[in-house]
């Protein structure tokens, strides 16, 4: 049986997601809409009658039915039944923030006019009351012609009546009937034109005739609602499929209607907006009793400090610094736990299996390789936790407010700040967050530079290189790490400036940023979101990275040369004959060197070794040897693979006598000419390379999806890799000249 579909919609920050979590018991599935990476949240109503299952779909927050960004577009397209795999909503629940009634009702009344069975939930009535707005729910319901349920979703108040209402509608679907309503008193000329278009729409699209009145109004007053060829090239789905494509005659009718209105002195763009707000103002006057709040609101008090001329930037820097510090400090304990567990697992597997290639593959290729990446899960969880908290409390939009001036210097938007900050966690959610940016050029510029922000996958690379190369005193490790993050930020801003001056020139974008009141974060929801995002990282470790590691193990192990094996077997036998029993420490040292020489020689003969040596000429000017080359090549798909590659290349883990950490092994690693491989300069050069290099297939895939073309991801990969090479080259050459 087809489940009863409830669509949740409303303005951003109206508590829609809280309500969704409450209705579905935090068990909603998170996915994407086909073809676009707009987050799609879907879940079943908990406590629904088993005979009448209810599916709840959470739409992206939107301010109106005239979308300005791709996520708003999805919301409109679903409400207009234009998304193929989403059924016609059986019930639309509009969530309205009671403390911001007029603007929320702007969208709510647009939705009511669509003619779907609609229910309005008046959320945050407690906040509204504290602010002195007492809303008469019954009067509001009468004025809007739809049921209104008051609620405080965060406290669970009003949930039961809503559930009850959904359940009763789901079990008796025949009883719904909607009385069409309009909330515009339009000037006569405008109304006449809208009526004519409505009639034409009904004729062309009889299967969705109930939408005709609202669609006619939108077509007439929103110039972007008419899908033209131009609007279709920017990589967004316009919902412009065969069943919604407007016939030429209709488009012409709309255009000529606009011309007639213009000639009559009617502004077809703003008339409907003004008429609606005039009506909403009257409704609000009628249904609310205002009492001025006794004190300044807490949120305003907080803002006076947080956006203060002096305190604001200071607090911002402190928050960022605390965030990164605690990521390291708090994560180190679970990280050492995971490390110990991985080692124990590798040893246990290694000792309980007969020795041989399979044993080696599982312990060194799979467990040590994937383990060296999974270790970073705590850091990544923390990063997502902090970003989630910043978003949920409302601080994120203040950060955008504070940073907008700086961002506008490079031609970007305060809104680009949020995607860029999210890119510290991972460029993928960052790039997905650019959907809130209205203009195409700004969105593209942000997408192009977002991966330059040091993401969590670089952390393992930086951490290992810092441990192996940088002096562990005087705060050098922390300082180096900070430098890498700053370099990424500087690079991103610089490149954004260049792109906005050249490829993506455009008007300086308009900023329309709501500063919602602060609220206490919903810890459950934040943790849930943290886990959803971190799961992606784990999934990657379990799939892509595992795959690469197994492949890498083969490449690093084969082909085997029997002559080489014989030679080393012979030398081992010689050692055994000459050595005393038990061996002296000098003799043990000789054996260790012999083992290392054997491993190194085998690697050199392997496919991976040949690959590394083949690209060595390109890396020599950067001071990298062929072993590092193997790491760079294999980590092309995912940066963190560099670490697991090194642990395979340097033979860490698995064999039980050698449990030295990767960094220790790297410290003792020598080049063919006997010099140390990992000097501070090599470490720095490698890190600079990783700051700028693309090295992430998932990002490439997401950029492909978001821009709907291969052109941009390819361009991005090329520019980032070139930049990485050039800057690493400069670092190494300047460093060498300076005598490092």
């Amino acid at each position: 049986m087809k489940p009863f579909t409830v669509v949740l919609t409303g303005n951003p920050n109206c508590g829609k997601t809280t309500l969704f979590n409450a209705l579905t018991g935090l068990r909603g599935r998170v996915g994407n809409y086909a073809g676009v990476t707009v987050e799609r949240k879907e879940g079943s109503l908990t406590g629904a009658d088993a005979r009448f299952p209810v599916t709840i779909l959470d739409l992206p927050g939107t301010y109106s039915l005239s979308p300005q960004s791709p996520d708003e577009q999805i919301a409109r397209d679903i409400l207009f039944q234009r998304v193929a795999d989403v059924p016609t909503p059986d019930l639309v629940v509009v969530v309205v923030d009671a403390s911001n009634l007029q603007r929320n009702l702007y969208f709510a009344t647009q939705v009511i006019e669509l003619g779907h069975p609609t229910l309005l939930t008046l959320n945050m009535v407690d906040v509204a009351r504290d602010r002195g707005h007492d809303i008469d729910t019954d009067a509001l319901s009468k004025a809007l012609g739809v049921p209104v349920i008051p609620m405080v979703a965060s406290q669970g108040e009003g949930l039961e009546p809503l559930r009850q209402s959904i359940r009763s509608q789901a079990s008796s679907p025949g009883t719904r009937h909607v009385i069409p309503r309009e909330f515009n008193e339009l000037p006569e000329a405008f109304g006449r034109e809208a009526q004519a278009i409505e009639t034409a729409l009904e004729r062309h699209f009889p299967h969705r005739s109930r939408l005709a009145a609202a669609e006619a109004l939108l077509l007439l007053s929103d110039e972007r609602a008419l899908p033209t060829d131009k609007t279709n090239t920017d990589g967004n789905t316009n919902g412009n499929t065969a069943n919604t494509r407007y016939p030429e005659a209709l488009i012409e009718q709309v255009l000529s209607a606009r011309r007639r209105l213009e000639a009559a002195g009617v502004d077809w763009r703003s008339t409907a907006i003004e008429a609606r707000y005039a009506r909403l103002f009257a409704i609000e006057q009628h249904v609310t009793r205002e009492t001025p709040p006794p004190d300044e609101l807490l949120s305003d008090q907080i803002d006076r400090v947080v956006t203060h001329r002096v305190w604001g930037p200071l607090i911002f820097v402190t928050v960022m610094a605390l965030m990164f510090q605690s990521i390291f400090w708090l994560a180190q304990y679970p990280m050492s736990g995971i490390e110990a567990a991985v080692d124990a697992l590798a040893q246990w597997v290694g000792s309980s299996m007969p020795p041989g290639d399979l044993n080696d593959l599982i312990t060194r290729g799979a467990i040590a390789g994937v383990g060296s990446v999974v270790i970073f899960l705590p850091q990544i969880c923390l990063l997502f936790l902090f970003i989630g908290l910043l978003e949920d409390t409302g601080y994120m939009s203040r950060a955008a407010f504070l940073m907008d001036r700086l961002m506008s210097r490079v031609g970007l938007h305060g809104k680009s700040f949020i995607p860029m900050l999210s890119s510290f966690a991972c460029a993928i959610p960052g790039i997905m967050a650019t959907r809130t940016i209205e203009t195409r050029q700004d969105r593209l510029a942000t997408i192009l530079v977002a991966p330059l922000m040091s993401c969590s996958a670089r952390l393992p690379v930086y951490t290992v290189l810092i441990a192996a190369c940088i002096p562990q005193r005087n705060g050098w490790p922390g300082l180096t790490l900070l430098m890498m993050y700053l370099l990424g930020i500087g690079g991103a801003l610089g490149m954004a400036w260049i792109f906005k001056k050249t490829l993506l020139r455009g008007e300086p974008p308009m900023l329309i940023l709501e500063l919602p009141p602060y609220k206490r974060p919903m810890l459950g929801a934040v943790l849930r979101q943290m886990w959803d995002r971190s799961k992606l990282f784990l999934k990657r470790a379990g799939t892509v990275i595992l795959g690469i590691n197994i492949l890498l193990w083969f490449l690093a192990t084969y082909p085997r040369s029997s002559e080489l094996q014989q030679e080393f077997d012979q030398r081992h036998a010689q050692w055994k004959q000459a050595a005393s029993n038990p061996p002296t420490s000098a003799e043990s040292e000789t054996l260790k060197r012999l083992d290392q020489e054997e491993a190194g020689e085998k690697l050199r003969q392997s496919f991976a070794g040949r690959l590394g040596r083949a690209i060595e000429p390109a890396l020599k000017p950067l001071g990298f040897d062929w072993k590092i080359g193997i790491g760079i090549v294999t980590s092309f798909a995912a940066r963190e693979v560099f670490v697991s590659t090194l642990s395979v290349v340097y033979n860490v883990g698995g064999d039980s006598e050698n449990t030295a950490s990767l960094a220790e092994v790297m410290k003792s690693e020598r080049r063919d000419d006997g010099r140390k491989t990992y000097t501070p300069l090599t470490g720095l050069t490698l890190m600079v390379f990783y700051v700028f290099a693309m090295q992430c297939v998932s990002t490439v895939a997401v950029v492909r999806r978001e821009t709907n073309s291969w052109k941009w991801p390819l361009f991005q990969t090329v520019y980032m890799t070139s930049l990485a090479w050039i800057l690493a080259f400069l670092t190494y050459q300047v460093g060498t000249r300076l005598g490092f």
Binding site: Y106, H133, L402, R405, G414, M510
Partner: protein, 73 residues
């Protein structure tokens, strides 16, 4: 009549005219910023731009560039 950006923090006024080109000001108007709407300038960001205004019981941030083009009285 004077631009919104010339208000001092805490000062209130009423929107008279929006001199932003019609095809760009749609969203601003949908957010409720219309001729006749009372607004309050709340503050300027620490670096002087953008500005924060209050209208219809909520807070909105705009760049000075746009605030310059919104005439109030």
């Amino acid at each position: 009549m004077r631009p919104l950006s010339t208000l001092i923090p805490g000062e209130r006024a009423v929107v008279a005219r929006i001199d932003i080109p019609p095809e760009q000001r749609g969203r601003l108007m949908e957010m409720g910023l219309l001729p006749g709407t009372p607004v309050e300038l709340v503050r300027f960001a620490p670096l002087g731009d953008p500005v924060e205004i209050k209208l219809r019981n909520y807070h909105l941030s705009l760049r000075k560039l746009e605030a310059d083009k919104i005439q109030v009285h």
